[in-house]
Amino acid sequence: MIAVGGEPFYYLEFGDIVLYFSPVTTTLFVLALLFTLFVLASRPERQVDIAFGSDAYLAKVITPGELHFRKFMATACGLASMGAMVTGDVFDFTLFASLVGITNIGIVAAVKNRHVQNAAYQYGLVSLSATVPLFSGAAMVAATTGTLSLIELAKGTYPAVPLAVKSFLVLGIIGEGMAPFYAAKAEMFRAPGAPYVIMCSLSSLLIFLRVVEIAMTM
């Protein structure tokens, strides 16, 4: 076995669903947890915009209703990324990844800014079509090896996962929110509400790190 993520030092079992904590997954998990706590505890900033053609500038204030919705979405996004970091099941991982996609849209959906909403919509289209390679990658892992458990796959006793299947999985994750599709997402970060918006970029980053680990473990 290629010990890509280091040897796991703790297994958390729920029936046949096993979460495992190796040095890499634990680091990523802690980071997701840390930023989720940030989201829960911090208040959004008031974004300053310059009114062109005059000396005036204005600060955008987020209304309480919008704040609650976005805080909820950002927390859900944090929880989904935490789950994706430690799950030991390929299909669960893809589900968490697409959940992150949904919550990412949710984080900016309440923003009353046409640019942001347009970007979120385009991103949503990309991420929704990315579920095709994502789910089919996971399904083909099961089809070629007979198991979805990363722990079993890492042992090397199962048949090797073909490169095409791995690239399907990675392609799906890239579509869920990495460069070059990230370009659709960058505009979303214009939305005010720093702690929530940060979850968008953090979650996709963590998920990408994890899929690299998964693809190299399989």
Binding site: P23, I50, A179, Y182, I198
Partner: protein, 283 residues
């Protein structure tokens, strides 16, 4: 461990000072003294500081904590010979930290700097392709295994030069004034750093110092292998001078061009790694 951290911080800031000096000399300026960055950090630490009125205060302060914390962690991972996936994860997290720095203040300049740092995400993809290339040879991503592999087979720089080149581009994208440093364009004032003044800015210098040391050290460890301490210092200084020359002699790309170029590099690297995997690894 505390002496190592302090030494790494000091050395990293000196390297950044050297970078400024080399760039200045290439531009026929005298340039600041080599310890200028260190002086900056010290100066900023003793300035009166507060959180701007519009900022999301917890985020504004907390992101400095995260920034210093992750680079201390990265340094410890390098010292312990741990997994390079963790180090590169932290490298990618630097983008989030920059993003957080920029967005948390509410300032428009900070915001644009933060958004640019998100666009620069494209620089991270070559990284993973080069990681894959390394793993094909070493069958492990732990730094100590990679160093042990190189002790037997010779430096990876000669075995997988394209991977070293891709990683060099990655280092370049975090250098001030480099071709990919879209985050620090002059039209953005100080980009994501604009609103963090006083000891927050000093914290940023701490991040930068540790970051420079960690990234250069990792590069040397991964592609050249284990050396005596003096050897490490000499190689890192040489590497820094090469980086400075590259920065001084190349134009800063627009965000779009930067992303395009990095995507092209990624594509080339993917083909390369595919070829290696298809032909089978010698040895």
């Amino acid at each position: 461990m505390i002496p190592e951290i302090l030494a790494a911080l000091f050395f990293g800031l000196l390297l950044l000072g050297l970078h400024r000096k080399v760039v200045a000399r290439i531009q026929k300026r005298p340039g600041p003294p080599v310890w200028q960055e260190f002086l900056h950090a010290a100066k900023f630490f003793w300035k009166q500081t507060w959180v701007p009125k519009t900022a999301s205060s917890l985020m504004f302060v907390g992101i400095v904590l995260v920034g210093i914390g992750i680079w201390v962690a990265a340094l410890l991972v390098v010292i312990a010979g741990g997994n390079i996936l963790i180090i590169f994860g932290i490298y990618m997290l630097q983008k989030i930290v920059e993003h957080g720095f920029g967005l948390s203040s509410g300032s428009p300049y900070g915001k644009f700097g933060g958004v640019r740092s998100v666009i620069s995400a494209a620089s991270e993809i070559p990284l993973f392709v080069s990681v894959a290339a390394i793993a094909l040879f070493t069958h492990s991503l732990a730094l100590q295994d990679i160093v042990a592999y190189q002790a037997v087979h010779g430096p990876l720089l000669l075995i997988v030069p394209p991977a070293a080149f891709a990683m060099f581009l990655v280092l370049l994208s975090k250098m001030p004034g480099g071709p990919f440093s879209v985050v620090e364009g002059k039209e953005l004032v100080s980009g994501y750093k604009t609103e963090h003044f006083g000891f927050f800015r000093a914290g940023l210098y701490v991040c930068d110092g540790l970051k420079t040391t960690v990234l250069l050290w990792t590069f040397v460890l991964v592609f050249i292998g284990g050396l005596p301490t003096a050897g490490f210092i000499i190689v890192m200084v040489i590497l820094m001078i090469i980086l400075s020359f590259t920065c001084a002699l190349t134009p800063m790309l627009t965000p779009f061009d930067s992303v395009t170029l990095q995507t092209l590099v990624t594509g080339a690297m993917l083909v390369y790694v595919g070829c290696i995997a298809a032909m089978g690894v010698p040895g």
